[in-house]
Structures are given as C-alpha cells and as structure tokens.
Amino acid sequence: MLSHQKFIFFIIIFFMITSPVYAYVDPGTGSFYFQFFLAALFAGFYLVKTQLQRMISFFIRIKGFFAKR
C-alpha cells in the first residue's frame, strides 16, 4: 500500500498529466493491484450504500405504520 504522502502526490499528478502509452501494456496486473489499492474505498462505499438502504427501508416501514393508523 502506498504511503499517505505518496497517495496525495499521486492524486495531484492524476489531475495534471495525460501521458501516451508507448510501452507494452499488461492490463491484467494493473487492474489486479488497483483493486487492492482501493479496497477500503469500495468496502466503505458498500457499507454506506447498505446503511442508506436500511435507513430508507426503516423510514418506509415507519411511514406505512403511521399510514395504517
């Protein structure tokens, strides 16, 4: 995993440059390591999504409960 400073540097560079590819590119390894690199982000996204869904279904249930009464 990259260090904190490296990560920020990476993000800055990301918005600054576009570089053409001259070398042979192996898409497999890049995609493989990329997923590990962002694993925490994806897991966080999943948690936020499921919690949001739970909250929405909770409010729908509450609304249904009061509508019945």
Partner: protein, 474 residues
Amino acid sequence: MQKDNGKYCVVNKKEPSSFRDNSGFLFYRDNVLYRRINRSYYENWERLTKSGLYDLLVAEGLLLSHEIVDVPDYWDESAILTIRPRLIPFISYPYEWSFSQLKDAALTTLKILDVAVKFGMTLRDASAFNIQFFNGKPILIDTLSLGTYKPGEVLGAYGQFCRHFLSPLALCVYRGLEVSTALQKQFLDGVDLPLTSGLLPIKTRCSIGLGVHIHLHSMSIQANASKKSFKKNHGSFFSEKAYRGLLSSLELCINKIKLLKSKSEWSGYYNELSYTPQAFAAKKNKVGEFLANSFRASDTVLDIGANDGEFSRMAAGIGFKVLSIDNDYRVCEMNYQKVKVNGESRILPLFVDLINPSPAIGWDNIERASFLERSRSKNPIVLALAVIHHLVIGNNTTFDQLARLFSSIGSTLIIEFVPKQDKQARRLLVVREDIFTKYSKENFENIFSIYFTIRSMFSIPDTGRILYLMERRK
C-alpha cells in the same frame, strides 16, 4: 446432414471464436450448436448446478438455458459433458449495438456478478461478446464463464469489464458512437483504458465513477506496465464487502452514463417527408401483404435502413424475427427504446451500414463473422424500403451490384424504387453533378430481373415510388 459422394454424413465443426477457454468449447453438428465441457470445469459445474444458481439465473432471464445431451463428437479423455444451449436467433456483436443495448448488457453482467457471489460464484471473464440479445433482452450465453468465487480474491474480470463496457460507453457519450464502435472493432478484447483515458475530456477526471474506473485505473495499468518485476500478492485480502462495493460502484457509474439527446437527420422521417398520410397507409398495407405472402420462404426479415423500426414492427407483428439495421445510431437508439418500452421480443435493432457492414475480424479473420455471412445463414426476406436512391445516387453503386448483393443475402426481396424526380432523390443531387443517366425504372427492372423474378408490383399513390416483390431466380 450433408450429401457427400452420394452418402449422407454428419457435418461438424468447431465454432471459430471458441478457443480461449480450456474449460470447454463450442461446436456444430448438423448446424446445431453444442458446448463441450471439460474435466477442468467439473468443480465449477457442480457448484453452478447444485447450488441453485443456474436455475435462478435462467428463471431471471439472465443466463441461457441448456439441456444435457449425448453427442460423441470431439469427445476425448478431458471431456465430461456435452450440453445443447438454446438457440439464439441471431448472433450480434457489441460494435453493432446502440448505446443503450451496450449499457443494458453491462448492467446484466453486473447483475449476474451480484447474484453469483451470493452462491459462491463469480464471472471469470466479462467479455461483451458473452452477452447476446434474446427475446429483446440481454442474456449471458457463456455458461462456462461462471466460476467459483474464493473469498479474499479480487474481481478477476474487472479490467475486462471496464475495457468492454465502461470504455465504449464513455467514449460513446463524449466522442460519439462512431468512434466507440470503430475502437471496439479494433480492440476485440475491449478498448484499452489508457487510450480511453487520453480520449475522454478532462472534465471526466472529476467524475467519481469515470475518474476512478477509467482514469485512475488507467494510471495503475501504466504504472504496473513499467514495473520490471512482479511479486505474487499472497498477503493481500480483498474482502467480500470490497468486492460488493466494487460491483455497486460500477453499477452506479454505468447508470450515470447517459446519452445526450440529439435530433437525428432521420428521426421524424415518416412524419416530415416524402408521403401523404394516405400514401404512407397504402405503402404499409402493401408491404404487409407482401410480407404475409412471403412467410413460408423465411421466418426472418432483414430490414435495411429501418429507421426507428416502423416496418420492422409490422413484420414482427406478422410473426417474423426482424434484424432492423440502420447507419444512424440515433435512430437505432430510438428503435431499441421502443423494443424495451413495448417489450418486443422479435426485433433486434443493429447499428450496421450496408455500405460498410461489419467485416470478419479476429483470429484468422474468422473469429467474429461478418454481418453479411451471419445474415446469409438465415436466408432472410430482404426489406429495402426507400434506400435505393441512397445506395445508387448517394454512394455510386450500380443496380447490378445491388441486385447481386440482395440476391446473395435472401431469396425474397421487397424493394421500393424511388424515381429521380422524387423530392428525396433530388435532394441528393443538389450539390453534385447528375451522372446517373441509367437511374430509371426501366433499367432497374431490367437489371433486377437478371437475378430475380418480379412477382408483384405496386405504385404508391402520389409519390411516383414503386414497391416490388421479387423472388431470386434458381
């Protein structure tokens, strides 16, 4: 069966595109498609069939069903099973699909991944070629791409999914479908992400979905490509939450990519141009009558220059399966939206230009068959309404070239002749010299009669246009 030296013999051959997966392959026996399954897939097969995943995916219309059969062809010690998948009426390729067709195919792939992981399975590859349109909806046809999911592993098909779906969809929105389809034809295993990243506008870097899955992903690919050595990543663990989060993030990203609305040159063609309501009704009636009379010749119609599918819909109503092709991606998009809204199962809209139809490409130039080869195998009724002036005056083809081409595709032709005096034909001649001295009804009939017998003809009122029903000479 095919006659060989007076004796009937079984004709079988391997499907040319089926050579990459060592779990099995496709082959034909008497024009019926079979899939051989090898021992190396056994564990996956057991899980797929015994976990209930296969039944669920088939019930949801996400996976093509099959039956287990006893066919000995190509059997060897590595084989364990042969299955016969349900027949897909027409195999189309992603570079022939409209934007929404590709988008729906992407969402279908993600849905399968989402369902599969609950059963301890995943997709080993996410090629867009594994998806076909069946009964108007996208469906996975490659049963063997479902493999066992091992907790802690990343989504192996992630890169391929981004290349096959995300790249062309993003390019389609920001650079046009023509650019996207051209690149899809060039890169059969998906459009390279560094290339896509360079082509997309800078503003897409600020979008979370495209920023992560195209641009950052592309940087990771480039960074790893320049590495001199690789270590196997034994210690890393990609949790199931991260795996599902990745799927959700891809789904959100795909859903957010939307085509900007633009008016096509051809949208509204029927309303604005060429026909009075009476003339159009008369044309529709006669085309319907010609089609109904031709039903015994073939169950498929190839509607050339179909626009938004007005006549394709009529043919489907009679009971035909319809290949509805046009060279304008916006009307193809409109056509597909109608298929979706109306739940039509018989119409397949495709972005194909008859002037330059999809060629045979891939390994040995046979991996992906040309559009014409695939069409000819169906012997369709060729429906060429109001296109002849575009092909002859707009593209300098001759009547002879057209008649020869149409007769090579199908045995029945329904064609509309548009005279040079017609408003649409004159429009084509506004900025060019009229060198089409042989463009006349008489010449058209004489030359087409070399290849076809004219069975019936009908003058469309108030237009000067003529409809013909022709049958190929034997």
